[in-house]
Symmetry: C2
Subunit: 436 residues, 2 copies
């Protein structure tokens, strides 16, 4: 799934927590921790049953969920939320059906727990297995998007992790209804209902304490705009899995084929402009700009894209505005693309190294050596050759659902699906070996 | 390699940094960052050449290194360091030779960078590879152990990471000489000498700033006693790879074979008592304690081990002292073992879950079902069946040298060798795919 990240519920974080709130959250944490002990041993059949029952429960409770959503929408309108944010909050029967289908799809995924990741024998007869295990307790902080409540709850359950959900305050009642459905599923599968909990208060202080619950929470996943993620990463005492932003580049090499350059660039920018894998800067080999850029630019402009170019680009495409320095580091998440001529693949790599966000970058070229240089030297989680940056997505990678894209270098990098929500242990089998 | 962690240079961390020190460290960080850009693309031959030349340089400069070491020892004696700490600091020709051999061994290890970890095709023709890449810049904070300077420098170099070393102040001159040798190797291989840097001051404030250099440092590896690691983890704004302590258990099941129980327990406790994989608590199935414990205990006592038992153990072995509650959570790192009777494997799992440190735990039993329950349900980085906990070691795992054992759940868990000092990127090869 993709995350539109145009804006963040920036104000969910604040300082200081009252004693009663701390007690409430510690209790949630302790219960999540206990649930995690059971969940890590849960059989695939139980986890899948919980997901399927939850999906059914969501479908059969759509009236109650939509009622809760109406109440959330009224609250949100009073808070004068933008239309974009309201659109993410709103739930109708079709969206609910898609949420339920999402849970059913997660049930179809392989169980990521208990996989023997590698296995080897030692000369002394010891046999060592590296086996996947759940991470433990995951705290997820997100915007007012009810679908994330179900997706994140489902992904954590499938991967054997207990989860504490903290969505934006405007989605509180809708999320509560969805968590109730998930808990019906857990109960039907004889799994602890504390496996999926929603922080039962809109109090913003709850987030601050959640970020400090090192005793109970193993991972924090902030899911939202850059400012939300940055604040969570700054405040959290718990490791986070996240990406700050997706400042993705398309580089059109001298040896790019024109039709491919046109199609890939248009798709990378315009398929959906609000997703983190959308291209934000187009780099064009200066040696080929005259033959590539005019047609690529026209295609973009014809589809409603605004172009902001450096002086060389503007010379070739007079419809372009002049880009400012800030444009090279701006994630527009809109129908805007900055354009720059660069000195071949070296110039492209240098630009991306300076301005990129290590998320996703693509080269279009028919020269395999140039492609390999770009793929090896651009230090991003995902690098592509002759394909759109919008493939930065767990589903498109064949991982199934994902909880986001990580630009971190530790543990999870790129799409974070159920497999990335596990870690591993070493199991060593001997016959009495003692170490000399 | 193993780390004796009896004590930590606890006082290396303090608050506040002067402007000139901050400038100094930022400069080191920026240079490490630049070096990392070159190093991540370095060929195996270059990295191995640097390691081999450094080893030769250490051997041929032993007089200068030992002179520096004598000066460090005088400084340390004035600071009234314990004999154990002095022993770790001291360098003689044999130890220097072993340090040099360590670098040569690292050169023999496979290059962990550029490995295709997995590769698959998508129905739309995209080919996706997950390929290992270096982590970037690693900061290592350790005690006054000159061998760590060379080991850590060599492991980071082999894995393509730039490293900033900050050893205990008593080893300053010895470490400086060793880093000089490593840099001679780097220069001979045409690699940036900034790939391996030592913080060139004994000022304790340097550590505080190093822990906050998020702009330049990707990972902090604290290597030392529990208090050092705890302080680093508390203060650092950068992710850490470490273990706090190794409170390792041996569980003797009803179905344990007596001779194996004796040998494994003795080795797990007494082979070396100061390493993190040493057993600290012996759990004995109460149903078999009468036939197992007296002989196992006698064997330990005969080898100079002090036993502290619960009431049931003391009844069976009168030589035991009575254990206090605090003993179950004490990492002695000494010839002391706490002993407790438990109610079968369930009792053992429960005790380990309550008091263990998720490091390394072992079961001795001839019953395969009981073994599987223990291996699956004990949530430690390393779980063993019928083998000594002292196998918790990268060399014993066949990984070659290691930088420590991680009890973290993210990224690196268990022994941290060169492979664990890398992450990965996704390389996607297409032929013009655009996303529908």
């Amino acid at each position: 799934m993709e995350v539109d990240i145009n804006s963040a519920d920036q104000d969910v974080i604040c300082k200081g927590s009252s004693a009663s709130l701390i007690n409430l959250l510690n209790d949630i944490g302790a219960r999540a921790d206990s649930a995690a002990q059971v969940l890590k041993q849960a059989k695939r059949e139980s986890k899948d049953k919980a997901l399927m029952v939850a999906a059914t429960e969501i479908r059969s409770n759509f009236e109650a969920i939509i009622r809760a959503n109406v109440s959330d929408l009224n609250f949100a309108k009073n808070k004068k939320l933008t239309n974009a944010l309201l659109d993410r909050l709103i739930i109708d029967e079709a969206r609910l059906d898609s949420i339920a289908s999402g849970l059913e799809m997660i049930a179809q995924l392989p169980d990521p727990v208990g996989t023997v990741l590698s296995n080897w024998d030692r000369p002394n007869g010891l046999n060592i297995s590296r086996v996947s295990v759940p991470l433990g307790v995951i705290g997820i902080i997100y915007e007012s998007r009810p679908n994330v409540t179900a997706d994140a709850g489902g992904l954590c359950l499938k991967s054997g992790n207990a989860v504490i959900l903290r969505g934006g305050s405007e989605s509180f009642h809708t999320s509560l209804e969805l968590v109730n459905c998930l808990q019906v599923g857990l109960r039907a599968a004889n799994l602890p209902t504390d496996s999926i909990q929603l922080v039962p208060t809109r109090d913003r202080e709850a987030v601050s304490h959640l970020l400090r619950m090192t005793k109970y929470v193993d991972i924090i996943v902030p899911r939202g705009g850059k400012s939300l993620v940055a604040k969570v990463q700054k405040e959290s005492k718990i490791p986070t899995i996240a990406h700050l932003e997706g400042l993705c580049h398309i580089y059109l090499d001298e040896a790019a084929e024109l039709e491919m350059a046109k199609n890939v660039t248009l798709n990378a920018k315009m398929r959906r402009t609000g997703v983190c894998g959308a291209a934000e800067t187009l780099l064009v080999d200066s040696r080929a700009a005259h033959k590539l850029l005019p047609a690529v630019a026209k295609n973009l402009i014809d589809h409603g894209c605004i172009l902001k170019g450096d002086i060389g680009s503007c010379d070739l495409v007079p419809e372009m505005e002049r880009a400012k320095e800030v444009d090279w580091s701006t994630e527009y998440l809109d129908s805007i693309l900055s354009v720059k001529l660069v000195d071949g693949v070296d110039g492209a790599i240098e630009h991306i190294s300076k301005y990129g966000s290590n998320h996703t970058d693509s080269i279009v070229t028919d020269n395999p050596e140039t492609a390999e240089r770009f793929l090896n030297e651009v230090d991003s989680a995902i690098v592509l050759h002759n394909a759109s940056t919008q493939y930065a997505d767990g589903g498109e990678f064949g991982m199934g659902a994902e909880i986001g894209i990580s630009t971190g270098r530790l543990h999870a990098r790129g799409p974070v699906g159920t497999e990335q929500l596990t870690c591993f242990k070493y199991i060593v089998r001997g016959n009495g070996q003692v170490r000399p």
